[in-house]
């Protein structure tokens, strides 16, 4: 019996210790004091870089050169994308100083920037300079900003493009057949999703490139948990808003900025959901199994006439030996197709008008310096070293192979020769760069959802979208389910806080 009491006392002591730790651990540690700002930065210190594949290619390329030039040391922590977020948050919460600089998707900025877990880089820029800020594309400046602050170094201009096969859509014989069947001639690239629907139907299920295999109309990322929600938002952006200075009624597709009510049940969203669902029947039969890897592999192997994806398809298409591309020199590029109408929430009516909205889906990868980083100044110097105009050009244009980084500086779009040296044919490079440039240069491009809880909002959108795509629920029901879940998430996280973050992400006061 006495032993029992001893064990009980030990357990009680542990409970007390746990409670004390709970109370103590719950307090946010005082922020690390700002670095003392040496006149010269000590670059011989070891810098730890947290990175995923394929972005490690960039770090690995510059690491030996940096080390030789500075006498410093670069330690690379490579993690899979699936565990990057938890690695990041463990660092933010424990402040262990386990890395100095990290390459992260900017779509997490609501949580990361909003939570002020990373350094504001404006003082660093003032102190150490930044390699040609004017050279950075406008959209890239927007996405690394948070209010008046600059919270990250731009590194990758990553947005969806529209791809089409020139050996299908640009063949005069097919154009004539299309005109006879549908009574009009489509634009190149297609100007709206209605044209894409007709084209997808026309080019679906026959061997239009005469390679002995049946091809399909339109392909996109559709598998659950592989970023399919961005495919849908390419449609929603066209039907649910109109381009303009970001406000409640223009260039805004997620929430009402006054009430924080989700826009998911608006006729614009429902129309977008109907359109994407209707395109499934003109897609490869295994479309719902298409994550980003499968889509890229399938499209560059030549199985569809049209697709939407980030710049990865364009890049992989250039390398037949590495990616089995059969479409090198056969791709046309364009911005996202628009729509022939949009839902005007001011009047609660459809506006029948051809229009296009550029959508910065995902937005790209950026480099951030955690507040707990042991060597912030050196990390900043390393970040600006690998992202300066000359070095970053080599990373985005293919000279360093497939790095996952896409053009994001003005100068990247002008250096066509570098792209040709990187393995592109000149025409493809020019067409591709023009497509990307127009998106990144659009001051009214819709920014992605970048508020706290972003991954939860997107998870439920992704799940219900998948039900709609597989035909198990109707588009209307899908939108209702998304709406209900988004209301719940917003309320759980605090409606006023979320509204403040959301308005901030649009640049509204």
């Amino acid at each position: 019996m006495r032993s029992f009491w001893k064990v009980a006392v030990v357990l009680l002591a542990l409970c007390c210790a746990a409670s004390a730790a709970f109370a103590g651990g719950a307090k946010e540690a005082a922020p690390a004091p700002a670095a003392a700002g040496p006149a010269e930065v000590d670059l011989t210190v070891p810098i730890t870089v947290l990175v995923t594949d394929p972005h490690i290619q960039v770090v690995d390329t510059w690491k030996p050169i940096w080390e030789a030039e500075t006498g410093g040391k670069i330690n690379v922590v490579l993690v899979p994308y699936a565990t990057l977020e938890e690695k990041l948050w463990i660092e933010f919460r424990t402040k262990a100083g386990s890395f100095d600089i990290a390459c992260i998707p900017v779509t997490w900025k609501g949580d990361v920037f909003g939570g002020e877990h990373v350094e504001d880089l404006r003082p660093y820029m003032e102190k150490f300079g930044y390699p040609n800020w004017d050279d950075v594309m406008p959209a890239q400046k927007v996405i690394v900003g948070w209010g008046e602050k600059i919270m990250a170094l731009p590194y990758d201009g990553d947005n969806h493009l529209f791809y089409y096969r020139t050996d299908a859509l640009e063949v005069p014989e097919y154009q004539q057949q299309f005109r006879e069947k549908y009574g009009y001639m489509y634009s190149l690239p297609p100007k709206n999703w209605e044209e894409v629907y007709d084209l997808a139907e026309f080019f679906n299920g026959w061997d239009w490139d005469k390679d002995g295999e049946v091809e399909y109309g339109f392909a996109f990322i559709a598998q659950q948990n592989t970023q399919a929600m961005w495919s849908f938002l390419d449609f929603a952006a066209q039907y649910a808003t109109v381009a303009g200075p970001p406000s409640n009624h223009t260039s805004n597709i997620f929430f009402d900025t006054e009430t924080m009510e989700p826009l998911c049940k608006t006729p614009g969203w429902v129309e977008a959901m109907k359109m994407i669902q209707s395109l499934v029947k003109f897609a490869p039969p295994g479309l719902l199994g298409y994550g980003y890897s499968e889509l890229r592999q399938a499209y560059v192997s030549g199985n569809s006439a049209m697709a939407i994806d980030w710049a990865d398809i364009a890049i992989q298409a250039q390398y037949p030996e590495e990616y089995g591309s059969k479409v090198k020199g056969k791709l046309g590029y364009g911005p996202l197709p628009g729509a022939s109408k949009y839902w005007d929430r001011r009047t609660n009516k459809w506006v029948e008008e051809q229009h296009n909205v550029n959508f910065l889906d995902f937005g790209g990868w950026v480099y951030v310096i955690p507040k707990s980083a042991p060597h912030k100044d050196a990390a900043y110097k390393f970040g600006t070293y690998i992202t300066n105009p000359e070095r970053s050009l080599l990373d985005v244009c293919g000279i360093h192979g497939y790095t996952g980084a896409n053009p994001w500086r003005e100068s990247h779009f002008k250096a066509i020769d570098a792209w040709v040296r990187g393995g592109w044919d000149r025409d493809s490079a020019e067409a591709f760069l023009e497509g990307v440039y127009n998106i990144l240069n659009d001051p009214y491009a819709v920014t992605d959802l970048m508020i706290p809880g972003g991954s939860e909002y997107y998870n439920v959108l992704d799940t219900h979208l998948n039900k709609v795509l597989s035909g198990s629920i109707s588009p209307e029901r899908g939108c209702e389910l998304i709406y209900d879940d988004w209301v719940r998430i917003t309320n759980e996280r605090g409606k006023e806080d979320q509204k403040r973050y959301y308005r901030g992400s649009l640049g509204l006061k």
């Binding site: 006495r2 030990v10 357990l11 542990l14 409970c15 210790a17 746990a18 409670s19 730790a21 709970f22 719950a26 307090k27 946010e28 699936a82 977020e85 938890e86 948050w89 933010f92 919460r93 949580d111 990361v112 909003g114 939570g115 598998q223 659950q224 948990n225 592989t226 490869p284 039969p285 295994g286 479309l287 719902l288 199994g289 994550g291 499968e294 592999q297 399938a298 199985n303 706290p452 809880g453 991954s455 939860e456 998870n459 799940t463 219900h464 998948n466 039900k467 795509l469 597989s470 198990s472 629920i473 996280r493 806080d497």
Partner: protein, 293 residues
Amino acid sequence: MATLSSRDRVKWAFLLPALVYLMLLAIFPLIWTLTLSFTRWNANTMARPQFIGLENFRYFLFEDPRFWFDLRFTAMYVAVAVSVELVLGLLLASLLSQSFRGKNFFRVIFLIPMACPPIAVAFLWRMMLHPDIGVINSMLQGIGLRAVKWTTSAAVAPFTIMMVDIWEWTPFMFLALLAALQSLPTELYQSAAVDGATSWQMFRGITLPLITPMIITVSLIRAIDAFKLFELVFGITGAGPGGATESLSYYVYLIGMKWFKLGRGSAISWLFVILLIGLALILISRFRRERTQ
């Protein structure tokens, strides 16, 4: 105040390191997460947890249809996968406990799936089962059959996950049951044969009763393990299509590790633990009853 005898002191000196180790690595996290389960803590925006009592538990039990859907899917998965593994494992063990040429070769071959890391198994099968470019559909179409929507149909995908689990874990059942079969005394079978018993009668009257404790033990181990289904869902379907293959573990992962709702994540983890303990208790009591009989 009572003092410890020297014998007791020695006893405690030996016990203490293990006790401290156990407390730190097992008991402390349990207490910590239990404490957190009564709080709201969105770790990416809230500096500290906020006490909310039983709200998290109430939410899952009475308000969250996703919890109940995932629980139903997980329970169905455990029931089907473990049952099929048991039957197949028993059949294979019976077959390979006989003497024939090449027996050892097959024994080794059957163990390979179990030796593969589950996440590697998941990605391997994901590639093989891809509806368009997967080798399995190519083979089916090659012999004139229709392609199957292994991972893209909400009706088929749950069974795809079960199929892969059965492929991976039947060897475990086989191995354990083979060991049990080989430990049975041959005299009983010789006596039964003298009495004219058929093979089926010997199996039902001798083999099955004698290996029942082993069957219950391996079923318990597998059921608890299968209940923690994660890698196959993560790697093969991503919980799709439309959440049709989302397991409870995967949901716990989303809440805790993707959305950083640590209070809610702790609460669902505790519900998960309670469910597992309940399952274990049921199977253990069944085991005890069998032994008594």
